[in-house]
C-alpha cells in the first residue's frame, strides 16, 4: 500500500463516515427542496463547458444576431410610418375618442395633433417610405423588412425595455441574448457568446437587467464591453504581473482544483477550471477583437468611426468584428431617443435629427459591410425602440411645450429586421391614417421575439428552462413567428 492510498483510507474514518452520511442525507433533502428554486437541467457537457456549441431545434438561417436598440424610443412618425392625414390635422385638438380610457406617461387634458416633422419619400423597388432623416439608410431600403404595427403593453421606459428584451415587464427573466447563448453556445471559445455595447451617454433605463441572465446560469449573461479604455474592466494584468506569472498562477489554482475534482468528482469543479482557462484566453482575444484602430481608412470612412471614443458608429463596427469572430448575440443600446420636446436635445425637429444623423451612416455601413463580407445572410439585424410615440404633441402637465415632441405610445410602432433569413424589402402591418393604432398585421413583442429565435433555429415554445417547478420560456405563453417577413 503506497502513501497516497493510505492517506485516502485515513480520510474515510468512522467519524468521517457518520458525518458525511448525515450531511449527505441532509443535503439530499435540501437539494430536493432547493430544486424548486433552481434546478440544474444542463446536460453534463454543458456543465463542463457551458458555452460549447449546441444544435438548435432545426437548422437556423441566422448564426448570430445584432440587435440595435434605440433606448428612449424613436418616433416612428418621423422615420418610417408616413401619415399625410396627420399633417392635415396638425395643431388641431385631439379628438376625445383617442383619449378616452387611455393612459399616457405625460399627456394630460386635450393635446394638439402633431403632423410629421420630416419629409417622406418612397425608396427602392420595395417602395418603402423612409423620411429624409435617414438619407443613407434610404439607399438600402430593399434590404430591410418592416414591421409597421408592433404593439407593446408598457408605456414606461424600464418596464417596456425589460418586456422587449426578457419577455416580461418585471425583473428576473433572462434576456433574449442569454436565451440565444444558452440554446446555441458560442462558436468561439475565446470570446463571450453575448456582448453588449452602449452609447449615447447613458445605459438603458432598465439597467443591466435587460442583458441579464435571470434564472439561467450567469455564464449566459451579456458581457458589457466598453469602446474606450479597457474593453472589459480589469482585463489587463496589474503592473508587475507578467502574462507568464499569470499563467503559472492559474495553472497552480487549477492543479489544486483538479486534485479536488479527483477526490470528490464534483462536476462544478470542472466548470470552475474551465472558467479560469477561458478568462485567461479572453485576456488576449477580447482586446484584440475590440480594437478598431487596425481597420483600414475606407472602413472608418464608411462607418464614420473615430477610434478611441464611445460612439454608436464605433459600436456598429465592433458589432461586425464580434460577429465575424463567432459571437452569437451582439446587443447595441443607444441612449437619447426620448423625444418629448422638453428641450433642444429631444425636439423632433432638432436634437432628434442629430440622433438620426448619428445612426444613419453607421447602420447603413454595417449592413453593407456585412453584405460585402458574405455575412449578411447569416446575421440577423433587428432595429427598434421599446415603444413608439404618439401622433399628438406632448403637453406635459397640460402646458404648451417649448419644442415639438411626442409622448410614449404603446399601441403601434415600427421595427425592422434585415439579413439572417428575413425577406428583403417586405413590410408587414399597417396603422390607421394618423398612426395611432394597428389596422392590420398587428404584431406583439412576443411575436418579434419568437421570430428572432426562429431565425436562429429555435421553436420558441420549446426553448425552455425549468425553474420554480415549471418550464419558463422567453415568449411566456404567447408569441407567433411572423412568417410574413421570413424568407
Amino acid at each position: 500500500m503506497n502513501n497516497n492510498d493510505f492517506s485516502k483510507l485515513q480520510s474515510v474514518s468512522r467519524r468521517y463516515f457518520l458525518k458525511e452520511s448525515a450531511m449527505g442525507l441532509g443535503s439530499l433533502a435540501l437539494g430536493s427542496l432547493m430544486g424548486a428554486c433552481s434546478s440544474n437541467e444542463l446536460r453534463s457537457s454543458q456543465l463542463l463547458d457551458p458555452l460549447s456549441p449546441r444544435p438548435p431545434h432545426f437548422p437556423g438561417k441566422a448564426k448570430s444576431v445584432i440587435y440595435l436598440h434605440m433606448a428612449g424610443s424613436p418616433s416612428q412618425l418621423e422615420l418610417f410610418d408616413y401619415k399625410p392625414e396627420l399633417a392635415k390635422l396638425h395643431n388641431q385638438d385631439c379628438p376625445p375618442s383617442l383619449l378616452e380610457g387611455k393612459q399616457f406617461a405625460f399627456i394630460r387634458g386635450v393635446p394638439k395633433m402633431l403632423g410629421p416633422q420630416a419629409i417622406f419619400k418612397q425608396h427602392g423597388e420595395s417602395r418603402a417610405w423612409i423620411s429624409d432623416n435617414l438619407p443613407h439608410l434610404s439607399t438600402i431600403a430593399d434590404e430591410l423588412s418592416f414591421l409597421k404595427a408592433v404593439n407593446t403593453d408598457q408605456f414606461n421606459h424600464a418596464p417596456a425595455q425589460l418586456f422587449m428584451h426578457t419577455g416580461a415587464p418585471r425583473l428576473g427573466r433572462p434576456s433574449i441574448g442569454s436565451w440565444a447563448t444558452y440554446g446555441l453556445g458560442s462558436e468561439n471559445s475565446n470570446l463571450p457568446g453575448f456582448v453588449v455595447l452602449t452609447s449615447g451617454g447613458k445605459t438603458p433605463d432598465a439597467g443591466k437587467s435587460v442583458w441579464g441572465s435571470g434564472f439561467l446560469p450567469s455564464v449566459y449573461q451579456g458581457v458589457q464591453c466598453r469602446s474606450e479604455g479597457d474593453p472589459v474592466l480589469y482585463i489587463t494584468d496589474p503592473d508587475g504581473i507578467s502574462r507568464d506569472l499569470k499563467k503559472k498562477t492559474i495553472a497552480a489554482i487549477n492543479d489544486v482544483n483538479q486534485q479536488h475534482y479527483e477526490e470528490f468528482q464534483d462536476p462544478e469543479t470542472l466548470t470552475r477550471i474551465n472558467q479560469y482557462e477561458l478568462a485567461y484566453r479572453m485576456q488576449i482575444s477580447v482586446p484584440e477583437v475590440m480594437n478598431i484602430n487596425k481597420e483600414p481608412d475606407y472602413i472608418h470612412q464608411l462607418y464614420g468611426t473615430s477610434p478611441g471614443k464611445t460612439s454608436f458608429a464605433n459600436n456598429c463596427l465592433l458589432a461586425r468584428k464580434l460577429v465575424e469572430n463567432g459571437v452569437r448575440f451582439v446587443q447595441l443600446f443607444d441612449w437619447g431617443w426620448d423625444s418629448h420636446g422638453t428641450d433642444v436635445d429631444n425636439a423632433l425637429d432638432l436634437g432628434f435629427r442629430n440622433k438620426c444623423r448619428d445612426i444613419d451612416r453607421s447602420i447603413t455601413a454595417l449592413i453593407l459591410d456585412l453584405k460585402q463580407r458574405g455575412l449578411l445572410d447569416q446575421t440577423l439585424i433587428v432595429w427598434g425602440g421599446e415603444f413608439g410615440r404618439t401622433p399628438m404633441q406632448e403637453n406635459r402637465d397640460n402646458k404648451q411645450m417649448p419644442f415639438f415632441g411626442r409622448d410614449h405610445h404603446a399601441e403601434a410602432f415600427t421595427m425592422w429586421m434585415a439579413g439572417g433569413g428575413i425577406k428583403r424589402g417586405a413590410s408587414w402591418g399597417e396603422t390607421d391614417e394618423i398612426g395611432y393604432s394597428a389596422v392590420n398585421g398587428k404584431t406583439s413583442v412576443h411575436d418579434v421575439q419568437a421570430t428572432i429565435l426562429n431565425q436562429l433555429g429555435f421553436d420558441h415554445e420549446k426553448l425552455t428552462y425549468q425553474f420554480q417547478g415549471r418550464p419558463f420560456r422567453l415568449t411566456d405563453v404567447s408569441g407567433k413567428v411572423i412568417s410574413e417577413i421570413v424568407a
Partner: protein
C-alpha cells in the same frame, strides 16, 4: 352587428360549460344513493331525488345546447354523431331514473329502489363515455394518450419532409398544379385526402375539390368572399370552424391571398401564372417560389449516418467548435473561429468526418493552399469560409471536386481571375464573395451567371446633412 346575434346559436356555445353540470350532479346523486345504504348516511336518501332532478334538468339542457352546437358543423362527423346519441341517451336515462325515484310511481317501493340502483350503473358508464367522446371532438382523438411533445416533433420533421420544390419559371408554371396543389398537400391533405375525409371533404383530386364536402361546395369561381375555403381560412384562429385546426400548421396570409387570387380569376385548374391578371401583393410571394434563394435549400435532403464520436471529441479538445446543423440531423457544422492555427491533425480528423461535414469555417486561420487538398475530400461540403487567409488560386484549384459546394467566401484572399475559371466548373455553386481580392472586371464577366457574387467595395457618399448639427449654435 347587434341585429345579427342569434340567440339560439349563443345557447349552443354554452354547451362546453353546461356539460360539466350533469356529470357532476348525476355522479353526486349516484354517490348519495350508494351512501344512503349505510347506516351512518341514511339521511342522504332524501337528497337523492333533488340531485336527480337537477342532474336530469342540466343533462337535458346540455343535450339541447349540444344539439344546437352540432348543427354549426366544423366537427368530425362520425365522432359527433356518436357523442350526440350518447348525450341524448344519458339525458333520457337520467329522466327515467328520476321517474323511478318518484313516490307516486306505480311499482312497489322495494322494486322501485332496486330499479333506481340498477339503472344508475349504466348511467355512470354513459356519462363517462359521452364525456370522453366530447373531449375527443374538441381536443382530437389521440388527446388522451398523446404525450404532447412527440406530436410537435412529428410536425417539425414533417415540415422538413414536405418542403416544396422550387419552381424554375414561375410565370410558365401552372397555377393549380404547381402552386395551389402543393400548398394544399402541405397544409390540408392530412385531414382532407384519401387518408382521412373530415367533413366528407377531399382535396387531393380535382373532381373531389369541385364536389366539396358536407357543407356543399368549397369555392365559387370568381367569388372569393362567398367561397367556404376563404371564409374558413380567414377566420381568426380562436374562432370555431377556423381551418386548418388550431394545432396544425397554419396558412400564412399570403397563402390565403394566393387562393383568393386563384378563385377571383375563375379557379381554373389549367391556366398558367402568366395567363391570370397580375396582383401586386403576390409578386414577392410568387418570386419566392422559384427561390434558389431560400437560405436553407442548401441542406441535403437525405439523412446521413452518425459521425465518429471520438473524432468529434478530439477536434473539440483541440479548440475547434463542432456541432450538428440543427435538430436531430447528423450533418455537422465546424468552425475554427476560436482556433487560429490549422494543423495536420485537425485535417486528418476532418477527413474522418467527411460524410457529415457540410459547413466549414476556416476564416482568419493559417489554412494554406496545400491544406485545401484535404478539404477537397469533404464531398458533402456546402458552405466554405476561407476569408482573411493566405489562400491563392492554386488552393482554389483543389476545390474542383467539391460538387456540393454552394457558398464560398474568398473575401480578403489572394485569389485572382484564375480562381474564377476553376469556380465556374463547380456546378452547385450559388454564392461567391470576392471583396478585396485580385479579381478583375474582365474575370468577372466570364463568371457563370447563375452564381450570385459580391465584390463589395461599397461606399457611402458624404452628404451635407452628415455634418449638419441642429439646434446648437
Amino acid at each position: 352587428m347587434l341585429a345579427e346575434i342569434n340567440f339560439t346559436s349563443i345557447f349552443g356555445r354554452f354547451h362546453p360549460a353546461l356539460v360539466h353540470l350533469p356529470i357532476g350532479i348525476l355522479l353526486l346523486a349516484f354517490l348519495f344513493e350508494l351512501l344512503s345504504k349505510t347506516k351512518r348516511y341514511k339521511k342522504l336518501k332524501a337528497a337523492v331525488r333533488p340531485a336527480l332532478f337537477f342532474g336530469t334538468l342540466s343533462a337535458v339542457l346540455a343535450a339541447f345546447s349540444g344539439y344546437i352546437l352540432s348543427n354549426e358543423g366544423a366537427y368530425d362527423d362520425e365522432l359527433l354523431s356518436q357523442h350526440k346519441w350518447m348525450g341524448f341517451a344519458t339525458a333520457g336515462l337520467a329522466f327515467l331514473i328520476f321517474l323511478f325515484s318518484s313516490k307516486s310511481f306505480a311499482l312497489p317501493k322495494k322494486d322501485q329502489r332496486k330499479a333506481v340502483l340498477v339503472l344508475f350503473f349504466p348511467l355512470v358508464i354513459l356519462l363517462m363515455v359521452t364525456g370522453h367522446w366530447g373531449s375527443s371532438l374538441t381536443r382530437g382523438e389521440d388527446y388522451l394518450f398523446d404525450s404532447g411533445t412527440d406530436s410537435l416533433d412529428a410536425a417539425n420533421t414533417q415540415k422538413i419532409a414536405t418542403q416544396r420544390q422550387p419552381i424554375e419559371n414561375v410565370s410558365e408554371a401552372k397555377v393549380y398544379d404547381d402552386i395551389i396543389q402543393p400548398l394544399l398537400k402541405e397544409k390540408c391533405y392530412a385531414c382532407h385526402s384519401s387518408k382521412k375525409q373530415k367533413g366528407q371533404l377531399r382535396l387531393d383530386e380535382i373532381e373531389l375539390i369541385k364536389k366539396g364536402g358536407k357543407h356543399g361546395e368549397i369555392f365559387t369561381a370568381g367569388e372569393p368572399k362567398e367561397s367556404e375555403i376563404i371564409k374558413r381560412t380567414s377566420l381568426s384562429i380562436e374562432e370555431k370552424g377556423h381551418m386548418p385546426p388550431r394545432r396544425e400548421a397554419q396558412l400564412t396570409s399570403s397563402d390565403i391571398e394566393l387562393i383568393k387570387w386563384w378563385i377571383t380569376e375563375g379557379a381554373s385548374f389549367e391556366k398558367k401564372v402568366k395567363e391570370l391578371s397580375k396582383r401586386e401583393e403576390l409578386t414577392n410571394y410568387l418570386e419566392s417560389l422559384s427561390s434558389t434563394q431560400t437560405v436553407n435549400s442548401w441542406l441535403p435532403i437525405e439523412e446521413v449516418a452518425v459521425a465518429d464520436g471520438a473524432a468529434i471529441e478530439e477536434l473539440r479538445s483541440l479548440g475547434v467548435s463542432i456541432g450538428s446543423v440543427g435538430g436531430k440531423s447528423n450533418y455537422l457544422s465546424i468552425s475554427f473561429a476560436g482556433k487560429k492555427e490549422v494543423e495536420q491533425r485537425d485535417l486528418e480528423l476532418l477527413k474522418i468526418l467527411s460524410p457529415q461535414v457540410i459547413e466549414l469555417n476556416l476564416a482568419r486561420t493559417t489554412v494554406s493552399d496545400d491544406d485545401l487538398i484535404l478539404i477537397s475530400e469533404l464531398k458533402e461540403l456546402r458552405r466554405l469560409h476561407v476569408e482573411h487567409t493566405l489562400i491563392t488560386d492554386s488552393g482554389i484549384s483543389h476545390l474542383q471536386g467539391c460538387n456540393n459546394l454552394f457558398y464560398l467566401n474568398l473575401v480578403e484572399t489572394n485569389v485572382s481571375d484564375e480562381a474564377l475559371k476553376i469556380v465556374n466548373n463547380i456546378r452547385s455553386l450559388k454564392e461567391l464573395y470576392l471583396f478585396n481580392t485580385k479579381v478583375t472586371k474582365d474575370g468577372l464577366q466570364k463568371l457563370n451567371s447563375q452564381i450570385k457574387m459580391d465584390t463589395g467595395g461599397y461606399e457611402l457618399p458624404f452628404l451635407a446633412t452628415d455634418t449638419l448639427i441642429f439646434g446648437r449654435k
